[in-house]
Every structure is written in structure tokens, then in C-alpha cells.
């Protein structure tokens, strides 16, 4: 047995099972299913045809019912495995269904209609991935455009967020001035104001600045975040003041102190904020929806909404594109999870 399996199978009760072992297993397996189940379902369902999505009971894997073109019928017919009265099973194509009885036909002898009770037939299905769910949005819709818009908004907003917030945090942590605590308090107090409250005034500001229908109108209102200022300030407070004194003795200007001393040392907190910022901007829906009304400016999240029309929701496209929009966030989490855990531990945010 390898080290890994020995580690996994280790029990508190030694040879026998202690009750905590059982609780731990139930907890972990249950947690895995609860957390991971929807994601797995989403990933598999994104490969289903609209028909398979509407199927009841739903399945995890994307199945497609086999079809056959039978002579004398215009459309391809679905194939079923039917139990014949004599006990044998036969693959038949369904012509139509009337109540509890299906009219079926043997593809080899198309002329002869066989009546089968619907309880006696099961569809012939095979796993099949409907990749057109992915290809169609990219070829027929402007999905690449949306992707680019989202990337632009996310990257630009994150960079500006990091710079603006770190400058504010630097001033609030390293300069003594009257009203410093009050300024910090006011910044933190804005955390309590939800977007829906400031939406209308914000809209009129953006509109009067001529940023309506402009990606900058999405980027600029989000760059100054109280959370960011708070995270960075708390981190900068831990940078010893002696370093800054030393830099002053070393003839560094205040900008150099910020740019060459404080900012590099704040890197871990900046990484945390960058992750948060990327996730926030990437998943932002409401504000881009308000500011952007031209289709070529849509971000991914807004772009996704065009598949849900008033009468018809194209679930297969929504699911597929949701998977696509999740990929960057998942990558961020996979590669930067070390910073995220320290960030959550340090700030209590998630």
C-alpha cells in the first residue's frame, strides 16, 4: 500500500471503525457530492441535445436515442428495444404513439406495423457529446467578441483596482494625518451600501460622462472597492515603519517608497485582491447589463442572457457557454488557491 492510500484509509479507531471515522467519511463524501455534483451535472449537460435536456427523468451523462431512417417515412425514427409477446426482444423504430400503445415498425420489414405496450420498450441509447453546443455560439453568435470584452473589462478593471486601492491603502496605513481613521471608517461604511441603491445615480453619472455603451462605463465605477482598500491597508500595517524610514534616509521620494518598497512587499495581499477582483468583474452581470445595450459590447455574462428569450430558453447553449465562462475562474482558483486560502483566512471574505 502506498503512502497515499495509507493516509486516506487511516482510522482513528485503529483497526476498527471509530464513530468519528464514519462521520468524517459521510461528511467528506456528502460534501464532495453537494459541492461537485452540480458542476459535474453542468459539464455533462452542456453536451446534451435540447431533447435530452428536456428528458425526464434526467440523466447525468449525455445520451442520444439512436435513430434510423426507415423506408416509407420522411423523418428518421427513434429506435427502441421492444419485448415481443413471445418473450424475445427486437429493435424496432417507433412510428407514433397513441396512449399507452406505440406503433412500431421493424426497419428490416417497413410495411408491417407492430403494436407494443410502451412499458415493454426501452429506447436504444448511446453516450454522445453534442459539441455543436460549443461550436455554434462561437461560429454563429458573437461569442468571441463577448469573450474579448469580458477579458478586457476584467483585466483593465483589476489592474486599475490594484493601483488605486493600493495607493489609498498606502496613505491610510503609512501617513499620519488628521481624519485618517474617519476616512477609513467612511470607506468601510460604503460596504453597507448595495449596488441597487446607487444604481440610478451611478447610471446618471456614467451617462452624463458619455460612458454609456462604453466598456469604460463598466470598468470605472468598480475600480475603487472598500474591500480592496481594507485588505491592502491591513496588510500594509504589518510592513514595519522602519523600512519606510530607511527608504526616506535613502533619499527615496514618496512615490518611490510606494512603488519600490511598499508595493513589492504587499504582493501577497495584492494577489488576493487580484483574485477577488477577477472573479467579481468576470461574474458581474447587473451593471454591464445596465450600461451596455449594444450587442457588440456585451460581456460574457450579459451575452449569456441572450439565449434566454421571452418564449424560448436555449438551455443547451446557456449550459455550454456557462462552462466556457467558468473556465478562467476555475483556472484562477486552481493556480492561486494558496493565496486564496491565506486571503480568506486574513480577511474573512470569500
Amino acid at each position: 500500500m502506498g503512502v497515499a492510500s495509507r493516509f486516506i484509509l487511516r482510522r482513528r479507531g485503529g483497526k476498527s471503525w471509530h464513530w468519528t471515522d464514519i462521520v468524517t467519511w459521510v461528511w467528506l463524501v456528502g460534501g464532495l457530492i453537494i459541492m461537485f455534483g452540480p458542476a459535474v451535472w453542468l459539464a455533462f449537460s452542456s453536451f446534451k441535445t435540447p431533447a435530452a435536456l428536456a428528458e425526464f427523468p434526467p440523466s447525468i451523462l449525455p445520451y442520444v436515442t439512436s435513430q434510423a431512417t426507415v423506408q416509407g417515412y420522411d423523418k428518421p425514427l427513434q429506435l427502441f428495444e421492444a419485448k415481443m409477446p413471445d418473450g424475445s426482444t427486437k429493435v424496432l423504430a417507433e412510428v407514433r404513439r397513441i396512449g399507452l400503445v406505440a406503433q412500431m415498425v421493424d426497419p428490416t420489414t417497413p410495411g408491417e406495423i407492430v403494436r407494443v405496450n410502451i412499458g415493454d420498450r426501452t429506447p436504444v441509447r448511446s453516450v454522445s457529446f453534442a459539441t455543436e453546443n460549443y461550436t455554434t455560439p462561437f461560429t454563429q453568435f458573437d461569442f468571441l467578441r463577448y469573450l474579448w470584452n469580458s477579458v478586457f473589462v476584467t483585466v483593465t478593471a483589476t489592474l486599475i483596482t490594484l493601483i488605486v486601492n493600493s495607493m489609498a491603502a498606502f496613505a491610510l496605513s503609512k501617513y499620519e494625518f488628521r481624519g485618517r481613521s474617519l476616512a477609513m471608517l467612511i470607506i468601510l461604511a460604503t460596504l453597507m451600501v448595495p449596488l441597487s441603491v446607487i444604481m440610478v445615480p451611478l447610471y446618471s453619472i456614467i451617462s452624463s460622462l458619455g460612458l454609456f455603451n462604453n466598456l469604460w462605463g463598466v470598468i470605472l465605477p468598480t475600480v475603487a472597492t472598500p474591500t480592496g482598500v481594507f485588505i491592502l491597508r491591513q496588510y500594509m500595517l504589518t510592513i514595519p515603519d522602519e523600512l519606510i524610514d530607511a527608504a526616506r534616509m535613502d533619499k527615496a521620494s514618496e512615490w518611490q517608497i510606494y512603488w519600490r518598497i511598499v508595493l513589492p512587499l504587499t504582493a501577497p495581499a495584492l494577489a488576493v485582491l487580484a483574485i477577488f477582483s477577477v472573479v467579481w468583474r468576470w461574474n458581474d452581470f447587473l451593471w454591464p447589463l445596465i450600461v451596455l445595450s449594444r450587442r457588440e459590447l456585451y460581456t460574457l455574462q450579459v451575452g449569456l442572457s441572450i439565449y434566454s428569450g421571452e418564449l424560448n430558453v436555449q438551455w443547451h447553449f446557456i449550459l455550454a457557454m456557462t462552462v466556457v465562462t467558468m473556465i478562467p475562474v476555475v483556472l484562477v482558483f486552481i493556480f492561486l488557491q494558496r493565496f486564496i486560502t491565506t486571503g480568506i483566512a486574513g480577511t474573512g471574505l470569500k
Binding site: 514595519p240 522602519e242 524610514d245 530607511a246 526616506r248 534616509m249 527615496a252 513589492p264
Partner: protein, 360 residues
């Protein structure tokens, strides 16, 4: 040149006065040590000289020029911090170069100065390392190197040895003294360790509660402390203080009575004492000897610290503590009664206000 003159320096943080009317002349090339207990304002005084703190009142002059309004960067001083304050994200070379680059010095000269300082401090081998990869002693050298490359008019050192272990502290102390002899620049050194002060300083400035208590050479302070505080602060172990009273005055000699009826004769050549005056008598532990003479001080031994070359005796003299350091190894154990003699010991007399009695 590195002459620094402080005139009536005041510094308050809000309602708290940290420095009260500090007057001090520091000569060029002098090694001066500020010493005092924690919170006495010695570090604040150093930071005001550096320009990191603004004075509330008074005047700072460097080489005759008033620098109150000059920023820290332009005073031409270099500082070594207690925590070394090395930039953790930069290599040793970058740490040394940072200050020079900021004054837009040509690259060739920067490199030359770094090489020179590195050779002087023997840190050439780890110029490319980060401070985190260095030991405490190595970091200390880099911190000093960062000051040296600047070629400052004066060095300010804020407890630079306090983060080193005891052994390294002794060797670094010697190196610092050698460095000062070699560079010949003014150095202002802050410490709370009086041994460092005694060994390094040309002159020691003893501070307490924002005021200068005494300025003088190490031996001046040791031999003629101006007041009880300085007497107790300089010298290890601390000076013994006994309560006493003037019993008799003759020309050239004063007779003092201590608790328990002992009489001590002190050479005295002034007129400031009067019979019956209450005094504090200071005796350094090193000046007390063991005696068999019943006429000496009879004490009860509380604790014996045998250090091999000498023995420290903690004794009790009629309820007053008395510490004696006697050479060699003695067969004394706690609980014993013994006699201690102060015959021939220089006695320091302090009046009711703790000031040294003139003429003693």
C-alpha cells in the same frame, strides 16, 4: 565634517513631552552614545537628528547650518536601524545601491562604492542574496554597509546590536569601534546597554525622561556620577545605595552613620554638608571586600553567585540590600553571616535630591 549642535530641542507627541530642552554639542569624528532606560527619549532624539521626526521647538545644526526644515534625505546622515530595516525583496547589492541610485549617482561609482563597502565589511560573498537568506550578524553588516556607501557626514545607529546574540554582540561591538577608527566620521549610537556605551563611546549622554542627566567620558561617569540616577545606571552590577546621616565633620573628613550604627569615614573637602544631614551613600560592589574584622559591616548572605573568577554576594545589611563582587572563589553559602569592608572604597555621596554632594 560632522559637527552637530542641538539647542533647546523639544519634542512632544500630543500632550506628552518626550524631549525637554536638550542641549548638546557633538564634535566632528566623535563617537557619542545616548544611553538611558526604555522610554527616556533617546531613540526619539536620534530620529529628530535624522529628520524622521520634526522638532516641536529648538534648533538642530549640522556643520553650523540650521537643518530643522531640511528633509531626512538631504541632511546627509545615514541611519542603521534596530531591526536593520533591510528591504526584504531586494538583494544585498540592491539594498546597498538603493540610496545611491536615488541620488542619481553614475552606475560605475555605485558599483565601486558597493565593492569597497562589501570588502570592508566582508559581505562580498553574499551580495546577490536576499536579506532573508542571511544570518543576524550578516544582516547587521549589510545594514551598516548601506550606511557606509552613502559616505554620510554622520552615522546614526539605533540599538544596532540588540538583535544579536551575546557572543556576536561582543565581536560586532569591537568591529564597530574599529570601523569608527577607520572612517573617522561622527557616530551617534543609541543603546540601553551600558556596557556598549562604556566600551564604544568617547562621550556618553545619559538620558532620563526626556532630559540629559549627564554628559561625559565613560570614566567620568563611572568615577564621578552627577546624580544618583547616573550612578545607578552606569556600572554593572549596579551601585549599592545605603541611607546615611552626617555624624561628624572634620577638616578633610566626614563621618557618616548608617543604619545599624556603622560609621564610615569619607574624605571630604567642601562646605556643603552639615551635621545631621541625611544622605545616600553609593558604593560600587567591586569596591567592597570580605573582612574578618568585627568593626566592618556585619551582613547576612542571601544569595551567592559563583562566577569562577569572581563571586557575587547578595547580602542584607540591617534590611538594606548590599551587593559585593569579590575576586576569586569564596566558601560562603546563603544564610551565613559575614563581614564586609568598605575601607578604602571610593564612596559617592548624594543629597536628598539625588544630586552628588560637592567636594565628595
Amino acid at each position: 565634517m560632522g559637527e552637530i549642535t542641538l539647542t533647546k530641542i523639544k519634542k512632544s507627541f500630543g500632550a506628552v513631552d518626550v524631549l525637554k530642552d536638550i542641549d548638546l554639542d557633538i564634535k566632528d569624528g566623535e563617537f557619542i552614545v545616548f544611553v538611558g532606560p526604555s522610554g527616556c527619549g533617546k531613540s526619539t532624539l536620534l530620529r529628530t537628528i535624522a529628520g524622521l521626526e520634526k522638532v516641536t521647538g529648538g534648533e538642530i545644526e549640522i556643520d553650523g547650518k540650521r537643518v530643522n526644515e531640511v528633509s531626512a534625505a538631504d541632511r546627509g546622515l545615514a541611519m542603521v536601524f534596530q531591526s536593520y530595516a533591510l528591504y526584504p525583496h531586494m538583494s544585498v547589492r540592491q539594498n546597498l545601491a538603493f540610496g545611491l541610485e536615488n541620488s542619481s549617482m553614475p552606475k560605475a561609482e555605485v558599483a565601486e562604492r558597493i565593492t569597497e563597502a562589501a570588502r570592508m565589511l566582508e559581505i562580498e560573498a553574499y551580495l546577490e542574496r536576499r536579506p532573508g537568506q542571511l544570518s543576524g550578524g550578516q544582516r547587521q553588516r549589510v545594514a551598516i554597509g548601506r550606511a557606509i556607501v552613502r559616505r554620510p557626514t554622520a552615522f546614526l545607529l539605533d540599538e544596532p546590536l540588540s538583535n544579536l546574540d551575546a557572543e556576536l554582540r561582543v565581536s560586532t561591538r569591537a568591529e564597530l569601534a574599529a570601523l569608527h577608527a577607520r572612517l573617522g566620521s561622527t557616530m551617534i549610537y543609541v543603546t540601553h546597554d551600558q556596557v556598549e556605551a562604556m566600551t564604544l563611546a568617547h562621550r556618553i549622554v545619559v538620558m532620563r525622561a526626556g532630559k540629559i542627566e549627564q554628559v561625559g567620558t565613560p570614566l567620568d561617569l563611572y568615577n564621578t556620577p552627577a546624580n544618583r540616577f547616573v550612578a545607578g545606571f552606569i556600572g554593572a552590577p549596579h551601585m549599592n545605595f545605603l541611607a546615611g546621616e552626617v555624624a561628624d565633620l572634620e577638616t578633610g573628613t566626614a563621618t557618616l552613620a548608617t543604619a545599624g550604627g556603622h560609621r564610615l569615614l569619607v574624605p571630604f573637602s567642601g562646605h556643603s554638608l552639615s551635621v545631621g544631614e541625611k544622605l545616600t551613600i553609593g558604593i560600587r560592589p567591586q569596591h567592597i571586600t570580605l573582612a574578618n574584622d568585627p568593626g566592618s559591616l556585619k551582613v547576612k548572605v542571601r544569595l551567592v553567585e559563583a562566577l569562577g573568577s569572581e563571586t557575587v554576594i547578595h547580602a542584607d545589611l540591617n534590611g538594606e540590600k548590599l551587593l559585593a563582587v569579590v575576586p576569586g572563589q569564596k566558601l560562603i553559602s546563603p544564610g551565613d553571616e559575614t563581614y564586609l569592608s568598605v575601607a578604602g572604597a571610593p564612596l559617592h555621596l548624594f543629597d536628598r535630591n539625588g544630586l552628588r554632594v560637592k567636594g565628595s
